[in-house]
Symmetry: C2
Subunit: 115 residues, 2 copies
């Protein structure tokens, strides 16, 4: 999956969902579900892109971008996503926070190729 850039996203406004989480120890089926959910999210109407990073300290941040609130709500109610969220609370996460935010402006930078 290609990371989104301001050029690959529509002009604001659109939405960002910021999911910040600390994992529990052990995999417990997480890796497989994580990969599956990335693929599934990318197929949803209104999905615009996703970035994810997890540091050595176990803190991970995933930011997904969506066309509007309706597309976020539809993904939230998707059956497989609902099952995964329950698994997350049961097994995978020590803690997490989720922020839904309306993107008002965005810009990007790509380093020019050195001569």
């Amino acid at each position: 999956m290609t990371a989104p850039t301001p050029e690959s996203l529509p002009a604001p406004p659109y939405y960002a969902v910021v999911f910040t989480a600390v994992r529990t120890a052990g995999d417990n089926g997480y890796a497989e579900m994580d990969e599956r959910l990335f693929e599934l999210a990318a197929d949803q109407p209104g999905f615009l892109g996703i970035d994810a990073a997890r540091g050595a300290n176990g803190l991970g941040i995933t930011v997904s971008y969506w066309r509007d609130e309706a597309s976020i709500a539809a993904w939230r109610n998707h059956a497989e996503h609902t099952v995964a969220r329950a698994q997350g609370r049961e097994h995978w996460y020590a803690s997490f926070s989720l922020h839904v935010a309306k993107v008002e402006r965005a810009y990007g930078f790509v380093r020019p190729a050195d001569a």
Copy 2:
């Protein structure tokens, strides 16, 4: 620095600044400046919290939370931050994107202690 949680943040609306970046090779003074900027940001009026994660593939995501647009603008114009941003384009980043977004809702989860 403690990662922010919905409980440690005010009730929405407030702002999130999502900075997603791929680093160049080598340190080139980055680590020192990164630490300094974290400390400096935390001292700014309107600063609410910050989370950061960088994955093994070099993609990093930093999300800082701010009271309002005025506090984001003031931090943007801070002299040391301005110098750092120029260094970032000159030396540290292969690419980055920045999104400024108004948080409309937030919630969190903390795993109950097991019996």
